[in-house]
């Protein structure tokens, strides 16, 4: 191991490059340039192909507009596909920063911000992580701090009662702390900042979690080792895997996050070099670097574009990079988990918040001193919400093109022409274009299946057959819900542009099943939009209706799709089950420990949570 920082060290601005030649600037720039050149090439080809198709009956303004929209949309798809391809290449040449079993020295605060969450589930996760840390032998170097921003007094009272139970169970006096802010200024970023301003100097590192985060003790210790091995490392992000999904939608998302995301994240890591991401949780920061670089200002003006920075994580990563610190995602770190939304409505609510946060970053694109890649990451985040509008624009322009098309002139020169001249039929070019676009969507995922079978990773997903079946069904399912998500995203962007603030809604981490009435209430406007769109097109030109059914029908039946996909029930692990993931077949020890604590803490309804004062010595959740 290299030199070990002492408490308070690591706060100077780092200079020079990290000692990882394979991740040096030349490789990073090569990966970026390759992805950019390929994406632009594919996008230009798609745009040109569409222009050729449109020129059959002469080029109109609408053909140019549609060609531009196809170009932009294809660029975005190609950029994503390139990320997947780079990920597959990077996987074949894995890098590990494992520091072996070297002793660790730094003190770490594990921060658990909570906001109107279920305290039993959250505190049970803390108990499980604390027990997992105890098994590493380094538990004495870690403190947990529950940072409550809960606004509801009844939940806050439950938090305090369950905190006492947690401390008693884990014998964690002076190791696990709880504090509740009187005013939740700055939301989650303000919550973390408040802790650092009051207690930050006591710690070398801080592991920032979400209320639904769960991490293996060995993973946390390994993160400290890597932070200590590289004194220029300001932030180390893990790739959290979604666990515990129950509904059809939740399990499809869980499969996607477990099966594809590690590959795409490796591609991202290849391109970003030392200007990596921060996804807001399951990441460790060097406290001195974070304090020195990440004090977020309040932006001038009112929300949604002004005020407190909503998607603070991207900005904090950019600020650390600006100050010269390395920000890195280590995709080889296992044992990092989170939960995901169980239904489309909860997903769309979360997406609404992210949309506002990402669009707010347009204010920061020209912020002084940022690395070019940080600006590009902001732009990517904005494009993630704007790009679907290109497809919507293309569909609308295609409908308008039919209405505005000129009457075919079969005899352009009637005095010297015996036979009619028919417009060129360039349908083949449209088919080529469609195949190319579907290829961009399908190819990376199918290659990931092949790669997983080759590397043996598919075993955790029920074997090659189940993984392929899950991938094909996931592709079908994501295609089915794509038009519904398109309208939700369009509404989100419109709301932000019209100045509506999303506020800070609590994440729904409960059962998540939606009844028909609830699904209808949340999506009737989508169903009505789909019906109105199909009727309009049928009135305008009936022949186009069949082509629009793949988009119109999912909109029309959005309430049914939302209700159906929110259903599901827990079942025993079965390798042949669709969307099987490794954590279902062989749960990580910390997941089993969490379930064990939850089971031990289960109380009949209405029974107050016992504290040590109430029950004397409660039975510990761990033997």
């Amino acid at each position: 191991m290299s030199e070990t920082p002492v408490p308070g060290a690591g706060t100077d601005r780092p200079d020079g490059l990290s000692g990882r030649p394979e991740e040096g600037p030349s490789w990073t720039w090569l990966a970026r340039c390759a992805a950019l050149v390929v994406s632009i090439g594919i996008a230009l080809s798609a745009g040109a192909l569409f222009l050729q198709y449109g020129s059959g009956d002469g080029l109109q303004a609408m053909d140019w507009a549609r060609s531009l929209l196809i170009l932009l949309s294809t660029f975005w798809l190609a950029w994503g596909a390139c990320g997947g391809m780079l990920g597959l290449l990077a996987w074949s040449n894995p890098r590990s920063d494992a520091a072996g079993e070297a002793p660790i020295h730094g003190r770490t605060a594990i921060l658990v911000p909570v906001y109107n969450e279920d305290p039993v589930a959250v505190f049970a996760r803390i108990a499980a992580m604390d027990a997992s840390l105890a098994q590493t032998g380094w538990q004495h170097l870690f403190h947990f701090a529950i940072l409550s921003d809960t606004r509801k007094d009844d939940i806050a009272a439950e938090e305090r009662r369950w905190y006492l139970r947690l401390v008693a169970d884990r014998q964690a006096e002076n190791r696990i702390f709880y504090r509740r802010r009187a005013a939740n200024i700055g939301k989650k970023a303000g919550n973390i900042e408040d802790f650092i301003e009051r207690s930050g100097a006591a710690y070398d590192f801080a592991l920032i979690l979400d209320a639904d985060s769960l991490m293996e003790g060995a993973t946390i210790v390994e993160m400290v080792r890597r932070m200590e091995a590289d004194p220029k490392l300001g932030l180390l992000q893990t790739l959290p895997k979604i666990i515990g999904a129950r509904s059809r939608f939740g399990r499809a998302l869980q499969f996607s996050a477990n099966f594809y995301s590690p590959v795409f994240a490796r591609g991202l890591a290849a391109m970003q070099g030392r200007t990596g991401p921060f996804w807001g949780h399951n990441a460790m920061v060097r406290v001195g670097a974070f304090a020195q670089s990440c004090g977020l200002p309040v932006l001038s003006g009112n929300p949604p574009f002004g005020g407190h920075i909503l998607s603070h994580d991207y900005v904090e990563a950019a600020l650390l990079a600006r100050a010269g610190w390395t920000v890195r995602v280590d995709t080889d770190l296992e044992g990092s988990f989170e939960e995901g939304p169980e239904n489309i409505v909860d997903y769309a609510k979360r997406d609404r918040r992210w949309c506002q946060g990402n669009l707010q970053h347009s204010r920061l694109l020209m912020a002084p001193g940022l690395k070019m890649w940080s600006r590009f990451v902001f732009l990517q985040g904005i494009l993630a919400y704007i790009a679907p509008l290109f497809w919507l624009g293309f569909i609308s322009a295609s409908i308008a093109a039919i209405a505005l098309a000129p009457t075919p002139d079969y005899f352009p020169d009637p005095y010297q022409q015996l036979f009619p001249i028919f417009p060129h039929n360039d349908t083949a070019k449209a088919v080529e274009l469609a195949i190319g676009i579907f290829g961009l969507l399908l190819l990376p995922k199918l290659l990931i299946v092949g790669h997983a079978v080759w590397k043996g990773r598919a075993r955790g997903f029920g074997g090659g057959g189940t993984a392929l079946r899950s991938t094909l069904v996931e592709l079908l399912f994501s295609s089915l819900i794509a038009p519904v998500m398109l309208l939700y995203q369009t509404r989100s962007v419109a709301q932000v542009l019209f100045g509506l603030d999303s506020g800070w809604p609590t994440n729904n981490r409960g059962d998540g099943t939606l009844g028909s009435a609830e699904a209808w209430a949340n999506s009737r406007w989508i169903a009505l939009t789909g019906a109105a769109g199909l009727l309009f097109v049928w009135w305008l030109t009936p022949v186009l209706v069949a082509w629009l059914l793949p988009v119109g029908l999912p909109m029309l039946f959005a309430p049914q799709i939302i209700a159906w996909s929110s259903q599901g029930r827990p079942r025993d692990p079965d390798p042949a089950r669709l969307f099987t993931v490794p954590t279902e077949l062989a749960p990580s020890p910390v997941i089993l420990a969490w379930r064990h604590v939850l089971q031990g803490w289960s109380q009949p309804a209405g029974t107050p949570a016992p504290g040590p004062a109430d029950t004397g010595a409660p039975a510990p959740a761990f033997a």
Binding site: P7, R107, H143, A145, S148, A156, R160, Y163, L164, V167, E173, N174, I176, F177, Y178, R179, R180, R181, A182, E193, D194, I196, E197, R198, S199, G200, A201, A202, Y203, V287, G288, A291, Q292, S293, C294, G295, L296, P297, L299, S300, V315, L319, R363, L364, M366, A367, P368, G369
Partner: protein, 57 residues
């Protein structure tokens, strides 16, 4: 632990339980928006003039 630790109960923040270390660390606010310069002010002035003329005033 080098930092002073002391139990805090119902302090001015809200409620704190346990011996949360008292070890302040400053987080200076970072510059993210360019301060208004002469060029920005001139552009704003011209923009305001164009808008005013556009309204027919």
């Amino acid at each position: 632990m080098d930092a002073e630790t002391q139990p805090l109960e119902a302090d001015d923040v809200g409620v704190t339980r346990g011996a949360l270390p008292v070890a302040p660390l400053g987080m200076p606010k970072q510059l993210l928006e360019r301060p208004e310069g002469l060029r920005t002010r001139l552009l704003a002035l011209v923009g305001a003039g164009v808008r005013t003329r556009g309204l027919g005033n």
